[in-house]
């Protein structure tokens, strides 16, 4: 590890050489910046990872069951485990997906589960991302460049190689492919994660496209070459959100979608990764129910814990939230990327009163959580000194015939000592995540 710190300049130089950046909109202008990298890795030992792995597999399998149920028989609603209005008022519940079955019954092929480790060493799930979770490419390329910069470090430690992510991803695409090529559908050059889109396309051998060269004809999807020849597409790993996917079914104003793509999908002629409509399962309000789902579908206890969460929707919880407002973090279920997060203690008296009014008027819109006492990770500050910072871990879980956990993950940290927000769009950085092989 000292080797990495010693060579951190070299690693950063290589990251810059390979353009490891993410995009950000500032004052309406698109800018790309290097994703700040910290050389001190997060280290997860073998036993700990095995336990995490079991918990993640259980969770993702159940979330897939839940999606199949919600867009199918709706047994979990009929049995009263989750109040129906939580399902139907979730922004991510898409009526057009009702009764539509994806290829091989898989809804969430690529799941990004955000976890934190608390000071008691327990891992808590903060959020499930089942729509278009991003970030795997960063530790992938960072590992490659670290091995080149500090090979001795990787000789000394037994670290599972994480550069197989693209192979895992390709296996998933191939597994659900309905016959034809794999493509990665990106919203375009000016998307925050375009580096990742282009990098994963290169590494998986899928074709990178913005959709302009794709046409849907008679419920089949084709890629059109320069001379107008058509080639069938069997799987679309789409990195654009549901609402923009197909202007004929979802948002009509979408310019980046492919008209009638949804019909081709509905008829089983193309696979979409991830399935449209997954937003209902990673809704912040539904999150509360995941441990209940695990019990309901598997009859098991949840291996991974949720952060203690309250739903103001329930009278009892509302009372708790009002009584303990200053100790809680309140999240707007419709927001993402670290936005819409309010720490009760941070509000002025007036703002607090206003917010409580809003909460009472729209209880379904918010969840409240206990602030977890994070186990901080060290980073190197500008002066090269170790300082502790809040950090989370996005674990990537891939589902084809089996559910597999990528033995690594994206560790994001906050560069600001007082902040809990680790999102790159808000100035966070990343670390490599080592899983030790024994």
């Amino acid at each position: 590890m000292d080797g990495l710190i010693k060579h951190s300049k070299t690693i950063n130089k290589l990251l810059s050489r390979y353009g490891v950046k993410f995009g950000i909109y500032k004052n309406g202008e698109f800018k790309e910046q290097l994703f700040p990298f910290d050389p001190i890795p997060r280290i997860i030992d073998y036993n700990e990872f095995s336990n995490l792995e079991k918990g993640l597999i259980q969770r993702v399998q159940v979330l897939n069951c839940f999606l199949a149920d919600v867009y199918g028989k709706k047994q979990i609603i009929k049995d009263g485990v989750i109040p129906e209005e939580f399902i139907y008022s979730a922004k991510g519940f898409l009526p057009p997906c009702d009764g539509v079955f994806p290829q091989k019954g898989i809804y969430s092929h690529i799941s990004g589960i955000d976890l934190v480790q608390a000071k008691d060493n327990n891992w808590y799930v903060l959020e499930d991302n089942l729509r278009v979770p991003s970030g795997a490419s960063y530790p992938m390329i960072a590992r490659e460049l670290q091995r080149r910069s500090a090979p001795e470090t990787f000789m000394e430690h037994r670290i599972i190689d994480n550069r197989n992510y693209a192979d895992l991803l390709k296996e998933v695409m191939d597994y659900v492919n309905t016959g034809g090529i794999n493509v990665i559908l990106s919203p375009g050059r000016y998307n925050a994660a375009f580096f990742e889109h282009s990098y994963l396309a290169e590494k998986t051998g899928a074709v990178l496209t913005t959709g302009n060269d794709i046409v849907c004809e008679n419920d089949k999807v084709f890629y059109i070459d320069y001379d107008g020849n058509k080639q069938r597409i069997g799987a679309v790993y789409r990195r654009i959100s549901d609402e923009f996917l197909d202007p004929m079914t979802f948002n009509e104003e979408s310019l980046i979608g492919i008209p009638h793509l949804f019909e081709a999908y509905k008829k089983g002629n193309v696979a979409l990764l991830n399935a449209p409509g997954n937003g209902v399962a990673d809704d912040k309000g539904i999150y509360y129910f995941v441990p209940k789902m695990i019990r309901y579908y598997l009859g098991e206890d949840s291996i991974l814990q949720n952060a203690p969460t309250y739903l103001p929707y329930y009278k009892k919880d509302m009372k708790y939230v009002l009584d303990n407002f200053d100790n809680l973090v309140i999240k707007d279920v419709a927001e993402a990327g670290g936005y819409g997060v309010i720490f009760g203690s941070s509000l002025s008296k007036d703002k607090k009163a206003d917010f409580i009014d809003l909460l009472k008027n729209e209880p379904r819109r918010f969840i409240a959580q206990e602030v977890i006492d994070f186990y901080d990770l060290d980073i190197l500050d500008e002066k090269g000194e170790r300082v502790p910072r809040k950090a989370d871990l996005r674990a990537f879980v891939l589902t084809d015939g089996k559910t597999k956990v990528w033995p690594s993950g994206l560790t994001r940290f906050s560069r600001n000592p007082d902040s809990f927000i680790v999102n790159s769009s808000q100035g966070g950085g990343f670390k490599d995540t080592w899983v030790l092989s024994r």
């Binding site: 209005e85 139907y88 008022s89 009526p95 004809e217 202007p247 004929m248 008209p259 009638h260």
Partner: protein
């Protein structure tokens, strides 16, 4: 009184473009179907110059026609004709599983109430009424007498709350306001697109699930949906029922005209 009427209908949509367009994808939804109240006969749908027409059904059982016209064109037209025997009953549909319609109890972005609608709802004192049917009736009356018909005041994407603040709007706004109030009462209800006896444009109203039966209420005219109405499609709100969606290459302005005529040809 229930009549059986034979209504002959003709729906036309003509679009003209100021220049040639290509790669024109469209999706069209204006296909009336049988309910307990109406039976559709001789249905004919003509879509100009589309080499192959595909059909799909959405989750509200509406039929959608869609296709792709690749070659350059500057006109596009659709014509739907047929007969509707109406007044066969007073409700559209019966269900023994009202729970299947729970989705329709939830507000959408177009029906989501704000302060104004909440006050409006409170003012109706609906808890004094016996059942959902009575409530729907009262809501319809209230809207009819307190909301003013005016075209051009609201736009296609105006929400119920926005329309109510203005105090005026068109049939779409009447229907959205009614849906919003019904949903505050936790009553399943849906937005309906259809036609009414006479000449003009398409119409919209609300359908309400009362004790297993779906009834149509037309707040714009303060009428229960009867043999003068032909039902076409339904959804959570107007955005689920948009008649036409299009997407094409080419820089062109679009002019679109919709004409509906419904004539009583019963003897």
């Amino acid at each position: 009184m229930i009549f059986i009427r034979n209504l002959k209908f003709c729906y036309t949509l003509n679009a003209e473009y100021s220049g040639d367009i290509t790669h024109h994808n469209f999706s069209f939804m204006f296909s009336p179907h049988d309910t307990n109240r109406q039976r559709i006969e001789n249905l004919n749908i003509e879509i100009a110059d589309c080499p192959k027409l595909n059909i799909t059904r959405d989750n509200f059982k509406n039929k959608r026609y869609y296709g792709l016209i690749d070659k350059p064109h500057n006109k596009f037209s659709i014509k739907v004709t047929g007969n509707a025997l109406t007044g066969l009953d007073i409700y559209e549909e019966y269900t023994s599983e009202p729970v299947e319609y729970s989705l329709l109890k939830v507000q959408t972005s177009l029906t989501l109430p704000g302060l104004k609608l909440r006050e409006y709802h409170n003012g109706m004192e609906l808890d004094k009424l016996e059942n959902d049917y009575e409530k729907a009736l009262h809501i319809m009356h209230t809207i009819y007498y307190t909301f003013k018909y005016a075209s051009g005041a609201t736009v296609v994407h105006s929400s119920a709350e926005e329309a109510l603040r203005l105090g005026m709007g068109v049939c779409q706004d009447y229907a959205h306001i009614m849906l919003s109030v019904l949903r505050m009462e936790n009553i399943p209800c849906r937005y309906v697109v259809g036609m009414m006896l006479g000449e003009g444009a398409s119409h919209a109203w609300a359908e309400v699930l009362c004790n297993g039966y779906w009834y149509g209420f037309d707040p714009t005219n303060n009428k229960l949906v009867n043999d003068e109405y032909i039902r076409v499609s339904a959804g959570r709100d107007s955005s689920d029922c948009s008649v036409i969606r299009g997407n094409f290459y080419g820089l062109a302005n679009q002019r679109q005209k919709e004409i509906v005529s419904v004539e009583d040809i019963s003897n």
